[in-house]
Symmetry: C2
Subunit: 285 residues, 2 copies
Amino acid sequence: MEVFLDCLPCVLRQVLEASRMATGKNEQHAQIMEEALKILANYKDYQNSPDIVKDMHQVVKRLTGVSDPYKAVKERDIKAAQKAYPLLRRFVRDKQNSLYWVLKMAATGNIMDSAIYDNLNFVDSLQNELTKEFSICDLDMLQKTLSSATNILIIGDNAGETVFDRVLIEHLAGYAITYAVREEPVINDATLQDAYASGLGECAVIMTTGCLAPGAIMDQCSADFLRVFNKADIVISKGQGNYETLSECHRSIFFLLKAKCAVIADRLGVELNSYVCQYHSMQMV
Amino acid sequence: MEVFLDCLPCVLRQVLEASRMATGKNEQHAQIMEEALKILANYKDYQNSPDIVKDMHQVVKRLTGVSDPYKAVKERDIKAAQKAYPLLRRFVRDKQNSLYWVLKMAATGNIMDSAIYDNLNFVDSLQNELTKEFSICDLDMLQKTLSSATNILIIGDNAGETVFDRVLIEHLAGYAITYAVREEPVINDATLQDAYASGLGECAVIMTTGCLAPGAIMDQCSADFLRVFNKADIVISKGQGNYETLSECHRSIFFLLKAKCAVIADRLGVELNSYVCQYHSMQMV
């Protein structure tokens, strides 16, 4: 997916937030913004917005010396999600159409994205968010694919959301599941450490994509990841970042996300803040 | 007031909006954003954010050939405000502390700023906004100054808000009032044409500041305006733009505005969306 003009102010706002997460020094914030503006001036050289965010976040890390600016935010979000874990399991267990609701639950985990939602009172809004239905849900296609599948690759998104994904993975017990995370810390996206802290090591094989962006950009992913990606019977891609980087990919993918910005909502043909479980077929490109 | 880092993404978002107001051509939007990014790269050369917005808006006008991109928006806002004019007069007439409420009413006109508030259902929210009180109100100082004043300069802000200012001016009948507007169209700020369309020609002398920015930048204002500015017994400055350009000015000013962004609210020491009527004395710089 190309870089949209609307993304330019948004990624600039985001890098300012990241710089403040990393340091309280105003001079460094200004330095980072100057570097970020140089990156933005060349936005046409980038494949998509996560590709830009990647370079901006590298600037934040390089200029501040802080390797994981969102560490505290991620720990907070994982902790909050783990507190909600029993509630999430109960929510799914009590539903008749359990596959639908476990997917919806995993999509709801995407509200943990503190890169966009500041000071979210997660526990209070969780019940409300969980009961909202999907605006697009290609459940039939997923059920059909599951009937003949053996192995599943889930490409993760934010830390905290990882705990929701654990409930999804536990629901899919019997399949060999690989869970892929970012290669390095980038905004509040989950890393290996965050995945293990979320309990995913107990129910899935965890690996990194090899890509430094907050979205799996194919030609920046490792050979190891691409092997798993290409061989998986089912790929479930989580969040907007992965949607932006994989929506023109030459294999079938299920995109599970909340449309948090107008650009993505428009591209999907849904209202802002809608939940989506969309099947992308190999033939759609 | 300096350019804040938070303003950089905001003015970039605003210029994209302006470019879409001017034309539906995506190629031109991209061209404008590229020019805007070049301006942003030099943000340290600018005195304040309105100074940046000025240059960006000049790019929009130059590249699209549209001299007043917000023309339709401004006409809509003036029309909506004129429809509310009887209600505004009644609101002020029914109040005991009429100076307080006529100031509050004029500050409330600032919600017409469609550069920030899209698709505002103005009439519905008006009553609610009008009754909110000021978070800062230096009314005593204004009353004292009025008691010995003869002439007043009001530096206007948005189109539509101009109609609210008319009610303020009518309340101040007996004083010689000059109303200053922007030199040329810039975002949705009022021009001479907008001021006349709002009925201000019937109750005030209307002039321009000479400055092309959405805020009166002293060293860019005309000699004519500076003469009026320096000689006025009272200067009432409306909106955030004028606050940003005049808050370090060497004369006493009453700032009448709604704090619409976190940066300005923080500078004023009020909550976001607070209404303010703040006295700035000559000695405060």
